[in-house]
Symmetry: C2
């Protein structure tokens, strides 16, 4: 049942127009085309896919990796002026930093980059999953979710979560023009989630949709286990659309 | 990243046709039009909405409630030959039993109906959520999820989970012909999830999509917190579609 919140949200459509400002249009998103976007773990499938798609849309992108030479090699393969750097340089030179590292190593890498990521808009897209013979399943995270762990480890950064449900295969396929999916964006600052929604919307076919505060990131991250189950059953690259929005 | 599962799923498209049976069409679902469907907690918004929609589609429905007279009153209001009964009679007379009771009371009600629900196909649609000034959030469930709690409490029943993301407001609105959403269906028996997918598909506009085993129910249940956040931001009745499936 998804209707609970419409009761008591404090909006009163019959109030005089002068009594309070009109609610902000949730689709009025900022221009982010001038921002530099880094991808930590950028040599993995998800990181390369996101960097490729965003660079192709005209975003200035920097791939980050533990080893700068590996990042530069991967960046050169992507074209579209993508640069490569070690993770620390990638973080320092970027306005927005997407965290696409493996869950195993997530905490360690972020801890080591705390100073480099201070003040940055950090977008965690990591899905803490386990795998066994029955497929994928959600891992318990002591902080609640990967994104909340990031917020704990990076108190000077602006932490959001997004880009969990995009198929790395589709992102990387140059023959695919549009990706048919919404990106759920989570965070506690509307200014920051607006920026991330705008960034998601740079990818043709994709729409960034606000989907709640960081405390509700766990289910968005672990829903990837369900999409993997659907992929198996239907031989697909499943994504998600939010309807009526 | 949702692509992991396509590796190593054991299918081999180049194997001779005679070597093994063709994979079953995942959209070849059984005819469920003859089955009687009960709804425990059928006098709540979600229960009434589901019963109304399914009855309108021609399904024989029984509303269950703690008090038979309340169930009968609610059933009469819905029309479409919906019947009312106390929860135990509703369970006994139904082939499929949808659990739409409040989370607070979920375990107690199911424990009391264990014998009545033996052998039945049980569909849990309960979302364990808490609410505070910042909106909705997922509650921790000792068994993992409401659906897994049901499976523990009803060892003689066939437990599945579905119908979490349908707006009760839309379900109950007689002017709305179609509901634009997929229903994620979870369970460990393919025969049972196929039946529930077919049942979901009886509602115009709705498609039942397999979305994994019961151990992956928690994130599907608690994703309702995110849809509630989207509803607040966009003044909507959000649902979900799975793309590329």
């Amino acid at each position: 049942m998804t209707d609970v919140a419409n009761a008591g949200d404090g909006e009163n459509a019959s109030a005089p127009a002068t009594a309070k400002a009109a609610p902000k249009d949730p689709w009025a998103l900022p221009d982010v085309s001038h921002l530099v976007v880094g991808v930590l773990g950028g040599t993995g499938d998800q990181g390369r896919g996101l960097a490729y798609r965003l660079a192709r849309a005209g975003q200035r992108m920097i791939l980050g990796s533990r080893a700068a030479d590996r990042a530069r090699t991967a960046a050169a393969e992507l074209g579209h002026d993508v640069e490569g750097a070690d993770n620390a340089e990638c973080a320092r030179r970027s306005d927005i930093v997407i965290v696409a590292v493996p869950w195993d190593g997530h905490a360690e890498i972020l801890q080591s980059l705390r100073a480099d990521l201070a003040g940055k808009l950090v977008v965690d897209c990591v899905n803490p999953l386990g795998f066994d013979k029955q497929g994928a399943y959600a891992l318990a995270v002591p902080e609640g979710s990967a994104a909340q762990q990031t917020a704990v480890l990076l108190p000077e950064s602006r932490v959001t979560a997004a880009f969990h449900h995009l198929s790395a295969t589709l992102l990387q396929n140059p023959d695919i023009e549009e990706i048919d999916t919404d990106v759920m964006v989570l965070g506690d600052s509307r200014a920051d989630t607006d920026i991330v929604q705008a960034l998601a919307g740079r990818i043709p076919g994709v729409r960034g949709v606000y989907a709640g505060r960081l405390r509700n990131a766990h289910q968005v991250e672990s829903l990837v286990a369900n999409l993997i189950s659907a992929n198996r059953r239907y031989k697909a690259h499943a994504g998600l659309r939010i309807t009526d929005v």
